[in-house]
């Protein structure tokens, strides 16, 4: 097919239910011939029921041999009957047709589901904001739906006057709203040694981005008279069974850390820390303590379990790096991505996400030949510090195999590395902070595979 004649977003009839492979091949090769049309329509008529069952999504929009597209010519039920009333759903839910997009566990990754992770379906998301119901999950000892009227936050330690806040109190304070990404330190951790999982949901799905609303931690520290000179560290502690703890740097606390109660315009979801969580922009998700109950100011790091036994990066010499917190510059093409099938040759809007824990994204380049040549992508919409940035780039697929990669550069000048560049310094057993360039191989059948190529 001539790529210049391709129509963006066109849905191509998938013939395998109605034609034999030979017939399909023949129809494809000579689709403009009368013969092929007659063949397709004839077979299609005999399978009309099946086509209806398969839904409009799989139907051809081509006029075929008749007067036009049946989806246009035969008015559908929704055009001929009464729709649903307002407030049929007091809290709206996605279309029934979107059921395939779910957060999912990676089979075999963790041993118990109460201390596990579910991945966001990046392959189907748009823009930079993650819908609350698809935000990735990470729980250390199960999640709770805590009664907000009994939730308390205590700020104590090296402070003049330790203080207790109810949710009523906190939500009276001067609020700020900020858009930031949250990424688990172990995101892409399964791929340090080799390809391990098939799709972007599992390679990069411990990543989300929300507009958070809350009070700046610096406001609270000011209210209690924190000793910010000697107290260079803070402990953040959750109210869950694990009483999750992490050390936060005072520099970050005085800069952009928030104590947040809202995400994307509504209160936090229980899975994400309702009613209160810490937001530590640019820092790995484990530090964004959920169900936040206590902040302690101290003059030393607290050496919590997730700074001593987990979230430590094993180096080739057998030492572990400790307190690795910042999520460095990274990007990934989300469509097309592993496990997807391109429906046809021709034009594609290749799109993906870029982010850096050190600031704004400056530039994203995309390669279609395994990193030999690169083209700079368009940064779409808002380009915010420590937030996801959406990029788009045009591509006309000619049907031959291709390897797609994206490479981000942040405002500090750091360039996203290739996996071999990372391995040369950090080995293959680090688990955490894999920000390597991701490669997707598009095969000549249109199916996309997760591969490593450098």
């Amino acid at each position: 097919m001539d790529p210049s004649k391709a129509t963006p977003g066109r849905i191509r009839m998938a013939p395998e239910n109605t034609l034999t492979p030979e017939e399909a091949s023949q129809a494809r090769k000579a689709r403009r011939s009368f013969m092929a049309k007659a063949l397709a329509m004839g077979a299609g008529a005999s399978a009309a029921g099946a086509a209806r069952a398969a839904g409009a999504s799989a139907a051809s929009s081509a006029p075929g041999a008749g007067d036009g597209d049946p989806a246009i010519l035969n008015l559908p039920l929704h055009t001929r009957s009464l729709g649903q009333p307002v407030a049929a759903r007091g809290y709206g839910v996605p279309s029934v047709w979107e059921k395939n997009l779910q957060r999912r566990e990676s089979p075999g990754l963790t041993r118990v589901s109460a201390a596990s992770v579910s991945f966001a379906p990046l392959q189907g998301l748009f823009g930079i904001i993650t819908p609350n119901g698809l935000h990735f999950e990470r729980h250390h000892q199960g999640w709770y739906d805590i009664d907000p009227s009994v939730h308390r936050l205590m700020v104590m330690g090296m402070v003049k006057a330790p203080r207790v806040f109810t949710m009523d109190d906190l939500m009276r304070l001067p609020a700020v709203s900020r858009i930031h990404f949250i990424e688990c330190g172990a995101n892409t951790g399964m791929e340090w040694g080799n390809v391990a999982v098939p799709t972007v949901q599992y390679t990069h799905g411990m990543l989300s981005c929300c507009e958070y609303t809350g009070v700046r931690l610096s406001t609270l520290l000011d209210m209690v008279g924190a000793d910010t000179k000697k107290g260079r560290y803070l402990l953040a502690e959750g109210a869950d069974g694990a009483s999750m703890t992490r050390t936060i740097s005072m520099d970050a606390a005085l800069d952009d850390v928030m104590v947040a109660w809202a995400m994307n315009g509504e209160m936090l979801r229980p899975e994400n820390g309702y009613p209160l969580r810490l937001v530590v922009p640019g820092v790995q998700g484990v530090s964004w303590v959920k169900y936040l109950r206590r902040i302690e100011v101290g003059d030393q790091p607290f050496y919590t379990k997730d700074e001593v036994v987990h979230y430590i990066d094993l180096m080739p010499d057998g030492t572990h790096r400790q307190f690795t917190s910042v999520q460095e510059v990274k990007s990934v093409i989300t469509t097309p991505s592993g496990g997807q099938v391109l429906l046809d040759k021709g034009y594609y809007n290749v799109t993906g996400l870029a982010w850096s824990g050190r600031g704004r994204i400056k530039r994203v380049d995309v390669s279609f030949d395994g990193g030999r040549n690169w083209r700079t992508a368009r940064l779409e919409g808002a380009v915010l510090s420590k937030a996801l940035t959406r990029f788009n780039v045009d591509w006309v697929w000619d049907g031959s195999p291709a390897i797609l990669q994206s490479r981000a550069i942040d405002e500090t000048g750091q360039v996203q590395p290739k996996i071999n560049q990372l391995r040369a310094v950090r080995g293959t057993r680090s688990i955490y902070h894999n920000n390597a360039i991701q490669s997707w191989k598009v095969s000549e059948t249109g199916e996309v595979f997760n591969v490593q190529a450098f």
Binding site: V96, L101, P162, S243, R293, Q322, Q340, N373
Partner: protein, 375 residues
């Protein structure tokens, strides 16, 4: 509100606010030390924490053992607690059942001397246990105290926490069988931890302003790459994460690959997975509909725009319909036809519209439910 009345109203609000906040003008002069109070009128939100409250929550134990409560327990006592409360998940010797990762194993007496776990340098070593990694004894104590047992965190007494810690340390050959662990000797035992010297505080990734240790290359043309595929999923792992056709949207430029089948070898089969994906979804959708509670069907089929269960709206209440046809064995067929094709005259002059959108299964369930009283 019109523009004309806008200004006076603002003035009224402003003067009202001023009247309510006299401290905003006097505070700064009266108390120079808290000059910020005037600019921060929220300063009194919240209340002081009481000493008892701080004690109840301030449970963390730092690396220098600040926060460690006094107490002690023997290794023997530890075994007792272990076998009662820990063994189900962690195994008799901390080697783990299949549920949790092992706590003990992979360390040697030599490691206890050097403070470096030799096995961590071996790329082929299969697993990293807690005792191979832990560099701070305070952390072990703190975590058991705050989070264990798994299903009943914070139920151990202080001495039981010492006991369990002692038992783990003994299993890892850090302390002898007759040892009594206490707040007095924790610092000494710290000096015997196998991996106590195995950590590097890495400031470059602690500070936002840190310097990266790995830098990519921003080459644009003819860049170095061998174009070879170095790693890919093996064929047998194709369906390891389920059918990817069911994990992608049913419209758009892509579908999910049908991983219940091998990848198409023939380019002519481009997009072969697409219809399958849509069909799979559709099957799931219709299955879900059939299992829906009748009230949900009524809601989704727009019946509730005109009917309710127990009140007359535009059309009759479902309960009234049930009463009218009580004992009539032809009612189901009649009602099915009425819903499907519409009708007029039985309940007044407002016509009932046809409802071709309701599936046969849903309609049958709906009619049965209504005639049974719509409970």
């Amino acid at each position: 509100m019109s523009k004309r009345s806008d200004r006076p109203m603002r003035a009224v609000i402003a003067s009202a606010l001023l009247a309510l906040m006299p401290f905003a003008f006097t505070g700064a002069n009266a108390q120079p030390a808290s000059a910020g109070a005037a600019a921060k009128p929220w300063a009194d939100v919240g209340r002081p924490a009481t000493p008892a409250e701080i004690k109840a929550w301030d449970i963390d134990v730092r690396a220098d053992f600040k926060g460690l409560p006094p107490g002690s327990a023997s290794v023997d006592k530890g075994q007792e607690v272990w076998e009662e409360k820990c063994v189900t998940c962690h195994g008799i010797f901390g080697e783990s059942t299949e549920v949790f990762t092992p706590i003990v194993g992979g360390t040697t007496k030599e490691d206890v001397k050097t403070g470096r776990v030799a096995n961590l340098t071996r790329p082929d070593y299969p697993q990293r246990t807690t005792m191979m990694k832990v560099s701070q004894l305070s952390t072990l104590w703190d975590y058991i105290n705050r989070a264990m047992p798994w299903n009943a965190p914070k139920s151990l007494t202080v001495d039981e926490v010492y006991a369990v810690t002692a038992y783990i340390l003994h299993l890892a050959d850090v302390i002898p069988a007759d040892f009594v662990l206490s707040d007095k000797n924790m610092a000494e035992v710290q000096q015997r931890l196998p991996n106590r010297n195995g950590k590097v505080v890495y400031n470059e990734m602690w500070k936002v302003s840190g310097k990266p240790d790995v830098q990519g290359t921003d080459c644009m043309k003819n860049c170095a790459t061998d174009m070879n595929i170095r790693s890919a999923l093996p064929e047998y792992a194709r369906a390891s994460h389920g059918n990817l056709a069911e994990q992608n949207r049913v419209v758009g430029p892509f579908r999910g690959a049908d991983t219940t089948r091998p990848p198409a070898a023939d380019p002519a089969k481009l997009a072969a997975a697409a219809t399958t994906a849509a069909a799979v979804t559709q099957v799931q959708v219709s299955k879900g509909t059939a299992l829906k509670p009748p009230l949900e069907i009524a809601k989704d089929s727009a019946c509730l725009a005109c009917h309710s269960v127990d009140r007359k709206l535009v059309g009759p209440a479902f309960k009234d319909v049930a009463d009218k046809y009580k004992g009539d064995d032809k009612a189901a067929a009649l009602l099915t036809q009425k819903v499907r094709e519409g009708g007029q005259g039985n309940w007044g002059t407002v016509p009932m519209p046809a409802n071709p959108q309701v599936t046969d299964e849903d309609l049958a369930a709906l009619v049965k439910w209504i005639l049974a009283g719509a409970h």
